[in-house]
Every structure is written in C-alpha cells, then in structure tokens.
C-alpha cells in the first residue's frame, strides 16, 4: 500500500503567554493507505495537536507533511479547507454537529460546501444515515437524539463526504460502553471498506480496535507497533467461529479474548 500520510520532522510550537509550548518535537510518522492507526498518549502528550496537523486544521511550525504525495505543510487556508472537505472526515469526542440542523442537514453539510446539487447530496446523506442505522431519524435534531445516535450522525456526515481518511478524536469518549462499541464497529466496517483511519485516544481498549498503535509522550513518538490481537466490535464470520467479545472488551483491558459463540452482540 502506498503511503498516504507522511510526516517528517514535524514540530508544533504554541505561544502561551510568555512561554512557548512545544506540543510536537520532530515527529516522523508514515501511515499507509488502508491502515487503522491509534495514536495514544497522556493528555498533553501532543496527540491532539498531531491529529490537528494530520487533519489540516493546523500547519506544522517545522517539518513537512505530505498527504497523498502532495506537500500540504504550508498551504493556504482555502487550500486546507478544500482538503478537509474532500479528503478528511472528522469524528470528535464532543460530536460537533450543528444543533439547529436536522440529522439529514448535518450530514449534507460537507457536500453543501463542496457544491454538490441539492438532490444529489440529499440522496447521499440519506444513504449515509442508512449506513449508520439512522434511517428513521432523518429529521430529528441532535437534542432529540441519544449521544450514540448523535455520534452516528457525525459518522454519517463523514461517510456522505466519502473521504479517504477518517480522523477520530476520542470518538467514544462521551459515550456509554454500548454506544461506544457501536461506534467502534462502524469504524471497523469503514476500515474494512478500505478507508484509512487514524484514531486518537488515551483508552487502551479503544486503541486495540486498531491494527497499529503509536504512542506519544511529551511531543515525541516513543513506540510504534502493530496490535497483536485486535479487538473486533462485531462478530467476525471469517475468524473460525470466534467472536470478538465486545462486552468483555468494554469491561476491561485484560478480557479481550474471544467470547463463546452466540454472544449478546449477535442477538442485538
């Protein structure tokens, strides 16, 4: 798989009053197309900053960021907006959907900014909402939906825009374990469909839904290794009758082994 995201010596400095905070110090990271990477670290480790740079919300202070072969580290605001619109989908911890718009309108929004005709983007939005199981909630506003449903609206917004990269910033952080599991299942589905997913989290269990974990400390990468036994949030038909124990995954980091067939997940 070709490299999709390439960071070379990326640093990011913030000025906080008199002092300069070094959020990232010379990070080198390559994410190939189709990977599912979790970025872990304590708060203040720079993981959010790293995600903002990958998401083209910020420009690095130093170093280069190459996205699909194109250096985007010093592009202008409008070019970055265009990249965010077409190539990157965000899923935030705090959902970040517009409260006054309905689910359908929220999902349509990236396509509105892309200039897609109304009928076409409506159809795409409906498909995307159907994909996350919200066909019956098209005209509800976020305050009429549960947290898990709102996050699914946010994911549908990403699906409708159909970007190659999906960035999740603690997407399950504000959800109960069951809703969180649903979200992880959807992300894993999206990964299975060939999308590149980068997840920022401080939760070991959530991170182990990915295939590779990058650990950050004080703005530097301290480890970067594949996940030996990834957790599957949904039963895996090809895994020899062994289902990923979503229930136990939520219960603790240790209970990540397969559960017996016919688990609760299947009956949902």
């Amino acid at each position: 798989m070709p490299a999709l995201i390439e960071l070379h010596g990326v640093s990011k400095h913030y000025r906080a009053g008199e002092t300069v905070v070094e959020a990232l110090r010379g990070v080198d990271l390559t994410v190939n197309e189709g990977e599912f990477v979790a970025i872990m670290g304590q708060s203040g480790s720079g993981k959010s900053t790293l995600m903002h740079i990958i998401g083209c919300l910020h420009r690095p202070t130093a170093g280069t960021y190459t996205l699909a072969g194109e250096d985007v580290s010093q592009k202008g605001d409008n070019a970055l907006a265009e990249i965010r619109n077409r190539r990157i989908g965000f899923i935030f911890q705090s959902f970040n959907v517009l409260p006054r718009l309905t689910a359908l309108e929220n999902v349509e929004l990236p396509l509105v900014y892309r200039g897609v005709p109304a009928a076409e983007r409506r159809a795409a939005a409906e498909r995307a909402l159907a994909a996350v199981g919200l066909s019956h909630r098209l005209h509800h506003r976020p305050n009429q939906l549960s947290g898990g449903e709102v996050q699914r609206v946010a994911i549908a917004r990403t699906i409708a825009a159909d970007p190659p990269i999906i960035l999740g910033d603690e997407p399950t952080g504000n959800l109960d374990s069951r809703s969180g599991r649903e979200i992880m299942a959807i992300l894993q589905d999206l990964h299975a469909q060939g999308r590149t997913i980068v997840l920022v989290t401080h939760d070991e269990t959530i991170a182990r839904h990915a295939r590779r974990i990058v650990r950050l400390r004080d703005g530097e990468i301290v480890s970067d290794e594949p996940v030996a036994a990834p957790i599957f949030a949904r039963p895996q038909p090809g895994a020899g009758g062994v289902f990923a124990a979503a229930e136990s995954a939520a219960a603790g980091a240790d209970a990540d082994d397969a559960a017996p067939a016919g688990g609760e997940e299947a009956t949902e």
Binding site: A81, F90, F92, V97, A161
Partner: protein, 393 residues
Amino acid sequence: MNLQESMRMAWRSLTGNRLRAGLTMLGVIIGVAAVVGLVAIGQGATKQVTAQIESLGSNLILVTPRSPVARLTVDDTTELLRRVPNLSAAIAGVSSNNVTVKWGNQSYTTTLEGTEPPYEAVRNFHVAYGRFITDDDLTYRRKVAVIGYKLYTDLFAEQNPLGEQVLIDGTSFTVVGVMEKKGQGMMGDNDDRIIVPVTSAQRLLRTNRISSITAQVKAGADAAATAAQISAIYQHKYPTNNPGRDDAVSVISQDQMLSTVSNVTRILTLMLGGIAGVSLLVGGIGIMNIMLVSVTERTREIGIRKAIGAKRRDILLQFLVESIILSLAGGAIGILLGFGLGRIATAFGLTVAYSLSAMVLAFLFAAAVGLVFGVYPASRAANLDPIEALRHE
C-alpha cells in the same frame, strides 16, 4: 458554496431566532419608516403651502408696511397704478383678526377684511350668492358685508343671510353676499371671514391707513422687475439712512414668496429626513451589535463548519447575507410602516406627499447599512481559527 445556499443558511439561522431577528430589524424598520414618513410630511407641507400661495391668485405682488414710518393709504393704489404701467390692478386692504359678528342673539368671532371691488378677480375668489362690494359702496362708505362660507353655515345655519343686519363690533352692516367655499389659504381660513368695503373698515377700525396693497401684474410682464419698481418707489418715499436696515415697506412677489417658503420647507424636509437618517444609522449599529453577539455565540458552529471544509468566503458570505437580509427586510417593512405613519399624519390633518426618491434612498441606505455593519462581524467570523473555534464553549 453558492449564494443560494448562503441565503438558505442565513434564512435558517434567522428564523431559528425570530425574536432576536425581529428586534434587530426594528431599528432599521423605525429608521426607514421615519425617513419615509417624515419626508412625506415635510413634502406635504411644501405642497400645501405652495398651493396656498397659489390660491391667492396669480402674478400678485404684496405690499405691506414694515415700519410705522410707512403710511399706506387707499390713495397709494391709484398712485401705483399710475406710476407702474405693468400693473393691471391694485387693491387696498385692511384687516382685523378678531371681530365679533352678531346676528340676532348669535355671536361669532372672525376676521374682518376691508377691500375693494377688484378683489374677486385679483384673488380669484368669487361671490356665490348675492353681490360683491361695488365702487359705490366704497365711495359712500356703505355698511355692507359679504360673508365667508363658514359664517353662512355656522352663524346663519344656512338660512338666507341676504338683506340681514349683523353687528360687527357693535356697528350694523347689511349682508349683501356670500363668498364661495375656498378652504385654507395663506392668511388663514378663506371661508372664515367677513368682507366689507375698505373705507367702511377704516371707519370701523378708526384708522386712515391700510394694512396691505395687493397688486396684480399684467399677464406676460416680469413680476420680479415690477416688484423692484414698486420697491424703488417706496425706497424713495421712505428712505432708510442705514443701508443695513430693511426697507420701510416690504414688496414681495408671489414667486419670491414661493421660493422663500419652499426654501424653508425644503430645509424642514432635509432636517426631518436627516434626523430619520440618524435613527437609520443607529439601526445599523444595532445590526452590527447583534451580529457580533451572534458570531461569538456561534463560534463553535463556525469551527465545525470550517472543520468540514467551509472556506473563509463561505463563512463571510453566510454572516453577511444574514445582516443584509435583516436590513432589507427591515427596509421593506419600514417603507410600509412609513405609509402607515403618513396615514396617521393625514388623520391629524397634515398634508403628506410620498416621495419615491426618499423611499428608494431609504431602502438603499438600509441595504448599505446592512452591508457596511455586517462586514466587520462577518470577517471576524471568517477569520476565526478552526481549532480555537471548536474549543470554544
């Protein structure tokens, strides 16, 4: 994103907060309504006064004494007619604003006007019943009176007044005619007066002076030049030593009257419009204020929009369109309300003349106000950093 989408979005956000949108518009509504309404009242006043001056007759020159030195008498009219060939008529006038007319046990307070026979033609104001004052009445100082239409209706209760005796300030006069209905004029209500021969009026008021000469310029002659000629005659008669002082006799042509009055009313209209314009400006500042609050409130929304790909221009347009919609809608409602204001003024007896140019100007000004006062908040929104905006609570 195109303009249509921006408008749809702006509309959504405005209708999402109707009370606020309404209150914000109120400033512009009141401003535009004030401009339209007040200019209509100002221009109505101009129109009314102009009509009143024109109702005096046509091509008139009014000669009035300005200082006690000037002693105008009935003979002045003959002298003017002799010395100024451009004049077709000149009538002497005496008036008293407050005379009591009694008929039987009825009593009525009105204006007394002493005049001469050409009055009817010069003032273009005729008798409806009976006859007007004649030269003989004048010569013999007959105690005859022609009553205004209002006296006919109010004092005589529409009974035949011809041949009736009335007491004017205690002196008995015979009513010989009733004037036609004319309405408001330059010198008050034309219908609320009693007209007698100038000589009889002088005797009644115990004076040998007259209070005005109304001269009519021949058709086609230059009224201004004629007025200057008359003025020269009186300047010679009553020289003023001090060049800065006014002439002892004021000579003013109808055109001068018109231009003086229209100058005054134009300034009045401009002042009213200006005051209204200030309120429109205040309305614009109100829009800016609310838009700034709205940007702060929606910082997070702006962050979300930016994160999913809204460009600077998209955000700018969204907020700008909002403020322009507010000001345009306010302008349109304001124009309607301005008409309502005119209606109310009409109900209070004012003449109003709606001015299309004032309406267009007020509307465009409102639109400009929305644009100008919307730019700053909109650009503030557009320039927000997406991450900062997303972190905003």
